[in-house]
């Protein structure tokens, strides 16, 4: 058997059966050789990895959102195994998943609680003043640069969807130029917070269902010029349901530090009957923003 270069002309061709036989021989031997080479290399170049890392990785959600501060779930699994991180640092895993991880590693589980993102603004298209006709790119950061943004209020949501684009879980919807966080989809990773140039998104306990949808520290009268639904700091909520709300300056806030069962309920929101509708239950806010109900 002599090898000839591909460029050389054919002399006497072999018969079909012979070619078929050689084809089989070449393919089979090549397969065996390559398989053997890979096998040998796989043995000698094997990288020993910690089996626990892969176990933890399987228990993690695998969304690679980076909410824990590590570069993805694989990195987080490694840091948990090495003891640099607690399983509860993962904002996406459910409580059961976290305790499963803790059990797998035989470490104490830490009591963490679920958080959710909240857009502290209710000034949508119909309730806030528009100062200028913005025709630039649909990007909150760009819009905020043009004389303080198209909306009159310079603290509220711009509604161009930077947070919605950033959210790896598709939990944020833009309706009438305001961002709405769907609580059933939000896992509280906090990526949207950094995306908002107005800093009007905050992480709140998932157990809280009543919020103040305003972020402006301006005086009530100034807010009122730009927005019909801003908090005017009238202290009605503080007086009606004592202990659950605090008014700081001109802005009311929910006392999120309270224990989950002491947080204001939907009934409290109804009892307060906020005169500007800045204080609302999550459900009422949703119905209004999705235009199912008028304020």
């Amino acid at each position: 058997m002599n090898l000839i270069s591909a460029a050389a002309p054919l002399s006497v061709p072999a018969s079909g059966a012979e070619i078929l036989l050689w084809a089989g021989v070449v393919m089979a031997s090549l397969g065996v050789v390559l398989g053997a080479v890979i096998g040998i290399f796989a043995k000698y170049f094997r990288v020993r990895s910690d089996a626990r890392v892969e176990l933890i990785l399987e228990l993690l959600p695998g969304a690679n959102c980076g909410g824990c501060g590590q570069a993805g779930c694989a990195d987080f699994a490694k840091s948990v195994v090495e003891g640099r991180n607690a399983p509860s640092k993962c904002p996406v895993s459910s409580r059961e998943q976290k305790s499963a991880i803790a059990r797998a590693l035989g470490i104490e589980e830490e009591a963490g609680f679920q958080r959710r993102a909240l857009v502290r603004c209710g000034g949508d298209l119909h309730h806030s003043a528009w100062l200028l006709n913005y025709n630039g790119v649909l990007d909150c950061a760009s819009a905020a640069l043009v004389s303080g943004g198209p909306k009159g209020c310079s603290y509220g949501c711009l509604g161009m969807g930077n947070c919605a684009r950033k959210c790896p879980f598709g939990a944020i919807e833009i309706v009438d130029h305001i961002a709405l966080v769907h609580p059933e989809l939000c896992v509280g990773c906090g990526l949207c917070i950094a995306a908002c140039p107005r800093h009007c998104i905050a992480l709140v306990p998932a157990a809280a269902t009543t919020h103040v949808y305003c972020n402006s520290p301006e005086k009530g009268i100034d807010k009122r010029k730009n927005c019909q639904v801003g908090c005017i700091g009238c202290r009605k909520c503080e007086r009606t349901v004592p202990g659950k709300f605090t008014v700081e300056g001109n802005l009311a806030r929910v006392n999120y530090e309270l224990a989950p069962e002491e947080l204001p309920t939907d009934a409290d929101a109804v009892a307060v009957k906020c005169p500007t509708h800045a204080l609302l239950s999550e459900q009422a806010h949703f119905r209004i923003e999705q235009n199912e109900e008028i304020r």
């Binding site: 000839i4 460029a7 050389a8 002399s11 090549l30 170049f45 990007d139």
Partner: protein
């Protein structure tokens, strides 16, 4: 001169993506972010160079032999053989990289096994066989084709990153406008025709 022609031909005139229309899948799939496009480009250049060299060496030296004075020509096996060689080569490289250079392994990441069965890599091997390139020519051709692919991918990725901020009509949003852009990019590259 021949090598210069080969280089410019592979990068610009007969660009793999924009004039041969090979490797369209990663061209559209991983061109949403410059970062991922970079990773993919690196992996493609790497694999194409090595695959071209390996397949050309096998094709030129082992596919024709004579037995008892009669020639056995196994040229018809090339596609099967090329796939086999490319796949095992990539597998081998992956195993070695993981041990020898974890940094590079992490950078190329999932893109390495992804392009194992890419038509651009197989295309480079087949073109080498058709043009009867020597092993050196094949290696240069493979490397330059990879660079051409990387050029097209990076150009397209930067265009798409900008497109994301644009406001096209609703029917054009997303993939349609990306495809239109790819078409215009291909037309621009048609301007290189006749350079060599």
């Amino acid at each position: 001169m021949k090598y210069l022609e080969l280089t410019i031909g592979a990068i610009l005139v007969y660009n793999f993506v924009l004039s041969r229309f090979l490797g369209i899948c990663p061209f559209l799939g991983v061109s949403k972010r410059i970062g991922t496009a970079m990773g993919m480009s690196g992996a493609v250049i790497f694999v194409m160079t090595l695959a071209s060299a390996a397949t050309a060496a096998v094709y030129r030296n082992f596919l024709r032999f004579s037995v008892n004075g009669r020639t056995v020509d196994l040229g018809f096996l090339q596609v099967l053989l090329f796939i086999l060689i490319i796949a095992s080569l990539v597998q081998l490289i992956e195993i070695m990289l993981q041990k020898l250079s974890p940094k590079l392994y992490q950078a190329l990441g999932i893109y390495l096994p992804l392009i194992t069965t890419n038509c651009a890599v197989l295309g480079a091997a087949t073109i080498n066989a058709k043009e009867n390139h020597t092993v050196l020519e094949a290696t240069i051709f493979g490397c330059c084709s990879g660079i051409g692919f990387a050029l097209a991918l990076l150009l397209f990725a930067s265009l798409r990153e900008r497109l994301e901020l644009a406001n096209p009509p609703k029917a054009f949003q997303g993939t349609p406008i990306a495809l239109v852009t790819a078409g215009i990019l291909a037309m621009a590259f048609a301007g290189f025709a006749g350079l060599c």
